[in-house]
């Protein structure tokens, strides 16, 4: 049975425990095209802890809580927006041997649904997370079954994957904290556990891992975060028909070659027939209605 706690999230509560959480920087343009995503803060209180985030692009974020002399140490973890991340919290982390740590994967419950990934587009507060810790009534070291944190904020985005690259056996424990060779050391801290293609054992192959050694420094950010994916499918016949132009004119009508970009093209029906050669022959395959549907879609690109 998984442990379960109920935490109410209100702006008032955030105010009780913390002063100002930072984050929420607006997007910045670099070289005119690449957008650096905004970052937001996950906060809460814990009994003295490392808080880690393992995200689906392989990136890694961590922080330690601040000892304020109580049993509830506040923490603030900065995460880029809209990045799917798993949280893991570690107590007894001052012990030099990771085998003695208490490692607790976190799951989230929103609207009576469970998610192993959280993505945020604003600061969120997890409240107090009752982790096992030395000095408490009962504790054992090792990797715990996931602890479920219930969030009352219905707008928090959570999800679970049945084909979860970061939790291949779907037991709620991230791959990096499994013990694949059963030698008592979790993969992350196991010197003899090796997988040549996945240095940090997080399930994301090094070539796709934006931080393949989990040092918190992105290996290569040049290709990350440039496209914001939609949250839902919307029907669009013009998009389906118009996508057939992309083989020659580029995705969404934006060409990468000498050939025309056709995004926001006007007078498409005549344009297609004016050019001779292969374009003219292609034009003969589409009705005026179809071209007009495509044009309407292209005008929104």
């Amino acid at each position: 049975m998984k442990k379960r706690i109920m935490i109410s999230l209100t702006s008032l509560l955030a105010g009780i425990f913390f002063v100002g959480c930072g984050g929420g920087d607006s997007s910045t343009l670099v070289d005119g095209e690449e957008t650096i995503p905004s970052t937001y803060t996950i906060s809460g209180t814990v009994p003295g802890t490392i808080i880690e985030a393992y995200c689906s692009d392989g990136s890694y974020y961590s922080t330690t809580s601040n000892d304020n002399g109580t049993t509830k140490h506040p923490f603030f973890l900065l995460i880029p927006e809209n990045r799917d991340c798993k949280l893991v919290m570690i107590t007894n982390e001052t012990d030099s041997n990771p085998a003695n740590w208490i490692i607790t994967p976190i799951e989230f419950e929103v609207n009576s649904s469970l998610g192993t990934y959280l993505s945020i587009d604003k600061d969120i507060d997890l409240g107090n997370v009752p982790l096992e810790t030395p000095g408490a009534n009962s504790w054992t070291s090792g990797v715990k079954t996931p602890l479920t944190i219930t969030l009352s904020d219905k707008k928090v985005h959570i999800k679970s994957l049945r084909n979860d690259p970061m939790d291949t056996d779907n037991d709620g424990i991230p791959n990096t904290y499994e013990d694949d060779d059963n030698d008592g050391n979790v993969n992350k801290y196991d010197a003899d556990s090796h997988n040549d293609n996945d240095s940090d054992h997080d399930g994301i192959e090094d070539i796709y891992d934006t931080d393949d050694d989990n040092d918190g420094v992105m290996d290569n950010t040049s290709n990350t975060g440039t496209i914001t994916l939609t949250t839902n499918f919307t029907l669009n016949d013009g998009r389906l028909l118009g996508s057939q132009c992309a083989q020659c004119h580029g995705t969404n009508g934006r060409s990468s070659s000498n050939w025309d970009s056709i995004a926001r093209e006007d007078g498409l029906y005549h344009e297609m027939r004016e050019d001779g050669g292969i374009m003219y022959e292609q034009a003969l395959g589409y009705t005026q209605n179809e071209v007009s549907t495509i044009e309407t879609w292209l005008n929104n690109q």
Partner: protein, 420 residues
């Protein structure tokens, strides 16, 4: 918003805990639909990209592809004359992973459990799917057991292409190049004719060989596409063209091919370089999963869903509609398939008249290329595609230097639309 003080909050917390102990709320994981795409060629890569482009975070897409890189067969005949290298035609899946949040798994699919919708990979790991897209390409039918590392087909780009290039480089003036063209349908209809031209041009005009011959053994009754372009080119290059060929044996040691024609049996050609492009069929997994009807996968191209198993879609070279087997139209089919899966998942009716198009530029020398194109539409009465009648397809364009330049404008955007 109702505000509560700290004491009330603690009370609320303990009440919740009690409430939980008495009546646990039933919670279910927020599982989003799992779509697995097998094969990262033109069709599979495009399908995965467009699924995420249009379906975004509402779905999870995983590509299973054995190789970390894809090497395009399109333009690969230009490796033979030194105009391109394999590196120029090599693509990776970083954009799929980084931009579209597609899970990349570089393993090989072993088996499909259609009933339980579970895939087993070569390392025994399993993947579940709600929708499965198979874009697994072609397999070859060899006439007998010979070593394709001695007699390359070079019809899957990469090592095979380099091997054929190396063999061509060993030729001296007077050595012959003999190649075969498979029975239609096969991958890239103009490709073998294009290759004959590229090699003949290379030997004659770049190497300066006046006594070497290019001989083409075609399993088909005639040149099957762009007949004017290729028959003129064959005449100008002095290519010997033999139609209606049935190959009966290939001998690697001596580089000999034995074949029948309509008139004569047991003809033989022995050549310095022998390039047999074998007959083709769907990849093995299609047969293992019993998704084939004859040599190809049976699909309804309104969506590319299998006519044999629900939830399985087949696109690209392994599908058995009348559409040609090639990268450009594989990309085209992939978008129709992606849209159909997303509509189905969202309980929406399929688009009733999907169209696809085929386009191909064929280099025939180091400066000239021709083109071939067609538009297809869905015909619900036969549940197959057909050529759009208004276009009088297929249409072709004669070789020219401007077409040679256009070839790269075309391929650049096709590669971008598929891999970036």
């Amino acid at each position: 918003m109702k505000t509560i003080n700290r004491r009330e909050f603690c009370k609320l917390l303990s009440m919740s805990a009690v409430a939980y102990l008495i009546a646990p709320i039933s919670v279910k994981a927020v599982n989003i639909p799992e779509i697995v795409v097998v094969g990262g060629g033109f069709s599979g890569s495009t399908c995965a990209k467009y699924l995420k482009l249009w379906g975004g975070d509402s779905i999870n897409v995983t590509i299973i592809e054995s190789n970390a890189n894809y090497i395009s067969p399109i333009l690969s005949n230009l490796v033979l004359n030194g105009k391109k290298t394999i590196a120029d035609l090599t693509f990776n899946y970083l954009a799929h992973s980084n931009n579209y949040k597609i899970n990349m798994i570089h393993k090989t699919l072993q088996s499909i459990d259609k009933t339980n919708r579970v895939l087993t990979l070569d390392d025994s790991s399993i993947l579940k799917y709600d929708y499965l897209v198979l874009a697994t390409g072609i397999d070859f039918t060899l006439v007998n057991d010979y070593d394709t590392n001695i007699i390359p087909h070079a019809w899957i780009a990469g090592e095979q292409t380099n091997l054929l290039k190396e063999q061509i480089e060993t030729m001296v003036d007077g050595d012959d190049f003999v190649m075969s063209i498979p029975k239609s349908p096969y991958r890239c209809p103009p490709g073998p004719y294009e290759r004959a031209c590229i090699v003949a041009d290379y030997l004659k005009n770049i190497k300066g060989f006046l006594n070497s011959k290019v001989i083409v053994l075609d399993a088909n009754a005639d040149i099957i596409v762009e007949k004017d372009t290729f028959s003129n080119a064959f005449i100008s290059y002095g290519i010997e063209y033999i139609p209606n060929v049935t190959i009966t044996a290939v001998t690697g040691d001596t580089k000999t091919v034995t074949y029948n024609t309509l008139l004569n049996s047991n003809n033989q050609k022995t050549a310095k370089v022998l390039n047999i492009i074998p007959d083709q069929k769907s990849s093995k997994i299609i047969f293992d999963a019993e998704l084939n009807n004859g040599n190809w996968a049976s699909v309804d191209p309104i969506s590319y869903e299998s006519t044999i198993a629900n939830g399985i879609y087949l696109i690209g070279d392994s599908q058995g509609t009348i559409q040609p087997k090639a990268g450009h139209i594989g990309n085209s089919e992939a978008k129709v398939c992606a849209d159909a899966i997303l509509r189905t998942m969202n309980g929406l009716a399929l688009y009733t008249n999907p169209k696809t198009n085929s386009a191909c530029y064929s280099p025939i020398s180091t400066t000239q290329a021709s083109w071939l194109t067609a538009v297809y539409e869905y015909d619900s009465s036969i549940k197959n595609m057909k050529l759009v009648s208004s276009g009088n397809y297929p249409k072709s364009g004669a070789p020219s230097t401007s077409n040679y330049r256009d070839m790269f404008s075309w391929s650049t955007n096709l590669f971008q639309d598929t891999f970036l």
